[in-house]
């Protein structure tokens, strides 16, 4: 019966587990390669500025004198270009995404300098 073709399919699906997650309660599982956000090991960074020059959207800012590295989270397109060009391999791609927000989200990292107070 051509009319009942889809009905049998749907009835079968009635007895299976739902295909969707209850999202805010059950968190999304990430895969190993998922490109979520850029993370930095700031103590290994030499502030060469390569990442900021190669970034297609100009989301990364590097200040050599202040030993500061910052990123505009919502400007970043997760292309992982900076991770590849980094000579010290101190940048990495982490799984979790940046949380949604109304304004711009800027994360600033300072290197620990021995004669300065360490950042908290």
């Amino acid at each position: 019966m051509t009319v009942l073709h889809f009905s049998t399919y749907v009835i079968k699906k009635l007895f299976q587990k739902p295909a969707t997650h209850l999202y805010p309660i059950k968190k999304q599982k990430f895969f190993e390669r998922t490109r979520g956000h850029v993370a930095i090991d700031i103590d290994a960074c030499i502030f060469c500025g390569m990442c900021s020059r190669k970034c297609p959207t100009g989301a990364i800012g590097v200040d050599r004198t202040a030993k500061q590295w910052d990123i505009e989270r919502l400007k970043c397109i997760q292309c992982s270009c900076c991770v590849e060009v980094c000579p010290k391999k101190c940048l990495s791609m982490e799984n979790a995404y940046t949380a949604p927000s109304e304004g711009s989200v800027k994360d600033v990292f300072h290197a620990r300098v021995p004669d300065n107070q360490p950042d908290r």
Binding site: T2, Y9, A19, R35, P56
Partner: protein
């Protein structure tokens, strides 16, 4: 003689989340003429090439479209590689083909869902997209992105897939094929679906050739033209025939796309079987000089990349001719003489991607 009236269609329309506007000239319920109007999302991405280095432009090229994103990056890379005479390693070519075919499955499944949505078959739409989700998961495990992969680069690919994952992909596809069969049978045999598709929007073989239709639109009208036959990437090593239907109506276009999903699954199996070991990228030096037209087969049809380089790291010009751009005249052809109620269906069967079209 009946009175003529003009009905505007779009740019916001429930069946189509993309901005295309049509002025439909009606005689009673029949469409006599249609005038398209696009340009709501023109972003000028082609101009951006003058400000980005040619290696960086891959990221821009990938963002031209959200569905055939991988193939845009691949087309651009191929054009530059051919200008610079870079020989891409075999394994990279196979990997590119694999991702390209997975993109085709994902795009066609999405389109099937949208078609079901257009004729009001909501649960069929949901089930198509449920299957598509598995493909997106494959993308995420292998590349790290669900929609925009950023794995293509000039000279090769960025990421490799190991043996177990490759086998896993084939297992997922085998399982999916069984379920897909049940779903596509609904499209092929269901009475109400046939009622909306058979004999609607006929484009004859001659008309298809004259208006320059491409892709599934052309193949549904009986012209066996598939750019994959040119043998770019790993297609030269794979065994396949273009999918052709002869009726030229909406039903034939649906059949072509359904059969292409199975064909793509078959191609992926061949890819996994034949994939050689080895390097995945070729290092290169120097700047491109020269110009080239590169053709690829996207899910929606033939895409053309024109790259003109002047020997510096900034290119002179990149031009992308996307499949929807040439399918718009074909759409105008099929719209003439159709019922007003069938217009959304007709617009959907060309598989429009307006943001691709305007770049």
């Amino acid at each position: 003689m009946s009175k003529r009236s003009i009905v505007p269609f779009g740019p916001q329309h429930p069946v189509l989340p993309e901005p295309i506007h049509l002025d439909l000239v009606l005689e009673d319920e029949k469409v006599v003429e249609a005038i398209p109007s696009i340009g709501f999302v023109h972003r000028g991405l082609e101009k951006l090439v003058e400000k980005k280095e040619f290696t960086e432009y891959v990221y821009v090229a990938e963002r031209i479209c959200g569905i055939c994103s991988f193939m845009h990056g691949m087309g651009y890379c191929q054009a530059v590689e051919n200008i610079m005479d870079i020989k891409v390693p075999d394994r990279a070519e196979y990997l590119r083909t694999l991702w390209a075919e997975l993109s085709r499955i994902h795009s066609h499944l999405m389109w099937l869902g949208l078609l079901a949505d257009a004729f009001g078959f909501e649960s069929l739409f949901m089930h198509c997209w449920r299957l598509r989700e598995q493909i997106l998961d494959i993308f995420e495990t292998t590349t790290g992105g669900r929609v925009i992969f950023s794995v293509c680069k000039i000279g090769g690919v960025r990421k490799d897939i190991d043996k177990d994952t490759l086998k896993g992909i084939v297992t997922i596809l085998d399982k999916m094929q069984k379920e897909l069969k049940e779903l596509t049978d609904v499209f092929i045999e269901d009475y109400s679906v046939q009622h909306r598709l058979v004999g609607v929007g006929v484009l004859t073989k001659q008309e298809a050739h004259d208006v320059g239709a491409v892709g599934p639109m052309m193949r549904a009208s009986g012209i066996a033209q598939d750019m994959r036959m040119l043998g770019y990437a790993a297609y030269k090593y794979l065994d396949f025939e273009p999918v052709v239907e002869n009726d030229g109506d909406c039903y034939a276009r649906t059949l072509v796309r359904i059969r292409e999903i199975y064909q793509s699954m078959n191609l992926i199996r061949q890819c996994v079987e034949k994939m050689p070991e080895g390097e995945i990228e070729e290092k290169f030096k120097g700047m491109p000089q020269g110009e080239r037209y590169e053709r690829l087969e996207q899910p929606r049809g033939e895409v053309i990349y024109y790259v003109k380089a002047n020997g510096t790291k900034f290119l002179d010009r990149v031009r992308v001719r996307t499949p929807t751009f040439t399918n718009v005249p074909a759409l105008l052809k099929v719209l003439q003489g159709c019922e007003l109620a069938d217009v959304p269906m007709m617009v959907l069967t060309i598989d429009p991607c307006i943001s691709c079209t305007e770049r």
